[in-house]
Amino acid sequence: MKYKTYDLNGYKIYTIQTDKFKNSYIEINFRDDVREVSTCKRNFLSNMLAYSSKKYPTKREMLIQTEELYNVILDRNVSRVGYNLFTSFSLDILSPKFIKEKNYLENCIQFLLEIIKNPNIKEEEFDELSYQIIKERIETQVDQYKERPTALAMVNGLKELFPNSISGKRLIGTEEEIESITRKDLVTEYHNMLENSYCDILVIGDIDMDKMVSIFQKNFYKPSIITKEIPFIVENKIEKKRKVEKESTFEQTQLLQFYQLEKLTEYEQYYVLPIFQRILGRAGLSDKLSKYLRGENSLCYYVQCDFHYPNTYASILVGLSYENVNKALKYIHKSMKEMENKMISEEFLATQKEKSLSDLKLREDDIYGLIDNYYFHEISHAPLYQDYLENIPSVTLEDIRGLSKKMHESLLYILKEGDEYEEN
């Protein structure tokens, strides 16, 4: 695998040349400080750009072209890491070596650039029909999370925990925010994105990278160079313990226990935290939470333990009967206490470290994971897979105890099951 970054003044191209995969992947990423951008507008805009363009004025025409290009997959996404907001447009293509057409790679890149460079704008406004369809669709998506009890608990729990922080906010925005966005606003947002964002291009696959770079050079120009630092961690104030309980119409209760994290060292963040997470709740039913909640006490089917260090919190989510909430809490606390008191065998720690290293090999088989790892290494100094291999083996039980001391029990959010109970 050959890693190389090309600096083309207005933008950079991060590349990995490899013949490991049958597909290749190209992503154009705009990166902003989330505090300076309306995430709702940005999400609306990215949907508009991927829906129609000057050359392909309807979604249907755009999708016909994806099929003509041997079923390339066009995607868009808006996501956040710390204060970094990423607006990305990507194309998954067959490796050009499988295609006889001479200009296949160039045609694919031109197609992706068409979406970015030639939006469906007339007289300083986005196309009315595309706008109406997208607006309706996003307004419906706003409430879709309420259909799943786990998502409902998580979204509302985060809103309760972080009422004034970006960590508690959904990028999609609210119905009122979406309603207030005009076609003109979206044009302003479009120019804002092109002019004031970092622009990074990610390419991985069996591609002649120099040729690919020359295609971009010929067809894509971004005048401004951005240099501001955008933090990758949102440091939220540690809140007092409290409990919030809400009613629902679902069959099952969701117990969501939050923990807030103090600032971690880079060593703790990248190497200790993944091992801690495994021992606590990610070791295939042999971790502490699964062992106590499911294995020994039959309280639940799933217990999900997640760490979101860029937002400095961790969450434990359990689906169970309401009558078992207190029992489950007792075992969650017991598990956490054992982490703090190093009640973990050296063998189990060693197993989890080995499993973590084995996972790295698995991640190396993932085309998207590979390019993301390289990209984040370049922009945020996150470790490369090689660095994990070198550092994970040195994690000790003392490191685990140190990390648990930096975790503080915070909000307990209960989404209570409904009273109705019937067999369908």
Partner: protein, 427 residues
Amino acid sequence: MKKIKLKGLEEEIITDTCENGLSIYIWVNKKVNTFNGAYVVPCGSETVNFEIKKKKMHVPFGTAHFLEHILCKKEDGTSLLGDFNELGSYSNAATFADKTVFEFLGSNHLKENLELLLNSVQEKKFVKEHFESERGPILEEARMQKDNAGRLAHYEIQNCLFHNYPNRIQGLGTIKDIENMKLEDLETLYKSFYHPKNCFVIVTGNVNPLEVITVIKENQKKKHFEEFVEPKEEKYKEPKKVVTTFKELKANIEVPQVYISVKIPRKNFDIENDMLLLDMLNLILVSNFGTTSLFREKLFENNLALTIGSWAVQERDYLVLQVSARTKYPTELIPLLKDKMEHLELLESDIKRKVKSEIANLVLGYEDPESVKDNLAYLLIKYGKIIDNEKELLESIHLKSVQKVYEKMTMKEMNVFVLNPKKKTKE
């Protein structure tokens, strides 16, 4: 050891059989770091009525799934997943309608992973206490699934379409089934279907096929199995008519969902090849309701639908064509979808483009060990063999052949199912 060349894909499947009848299928990809191993049993959530030596047998719905859970427990009652974890591997088990799959995904200790997989499934000692302790998590799993609107819709539609098929009941069984399940039910299914002669092992990824075959054969040589009882699944008699033409239900959803399903007897069609027939039916549906259809575009433009999906599946002696949509206006949308189902269109340009896309998907499909394993398990259970000419089958599809299929598509037996929001979620 035999090699099955997959025509036009430059891929091959290596196959062998152990003395006790256990079949082995291997696909090698030296470019990846990982390997995937699966023990596949042709017994799933729909395996409830069967015959052994002319004796009728019955187990409750949910037995295969309960058995899958119990097989993932060790003799001391702890989870087997922990043992795979110690080898640095992921492991999982899943019960489908027609099969149960036990698997691991790893990058080290191939031999140990394979032996652990084989021994855990083949050397089971049933312990009453472990059986009882697993009832709680399974009941919670069932309650979790009752909160899944998609699943609710799926099983309700099966009940609207079929009178007798066992696909009408949730794979986990009802809450009552789980509460009343007996250990003997699990043992009955285990003894009947888990014989090596009835099962197969699939190994995909970065492996040496000779090593895989040697490890499996050596492992099997050490074991003794009772005689295979050759269970035969019950043949269900299913009337042509749907059970009901319309049904409405409420669920925890925010926007109504509409499903139009059509039941067509398989014997209506002259084509012998099931896979080719399904490919063509899906192609017809996707041309009319898929992302590049004009009809779909008009529905979106007029705000009559927010999403649309379509697919064709085979359920024993019948084919089911289905179109689903999320819509704020079900009353207006339903007649339009029904009308479109009854007046499907075929365009040569659409067919050519869709075939091209499907071929690209097929080529890309042989890359990731997990998806290849899934595909092989699907082919072996559904068709009883590896289909070596999937690409040729797709290439053989053209307007005339699709038209022939289209002419046999009778839309008479149709069901409309609507899922409506229960009430607004309290915040």
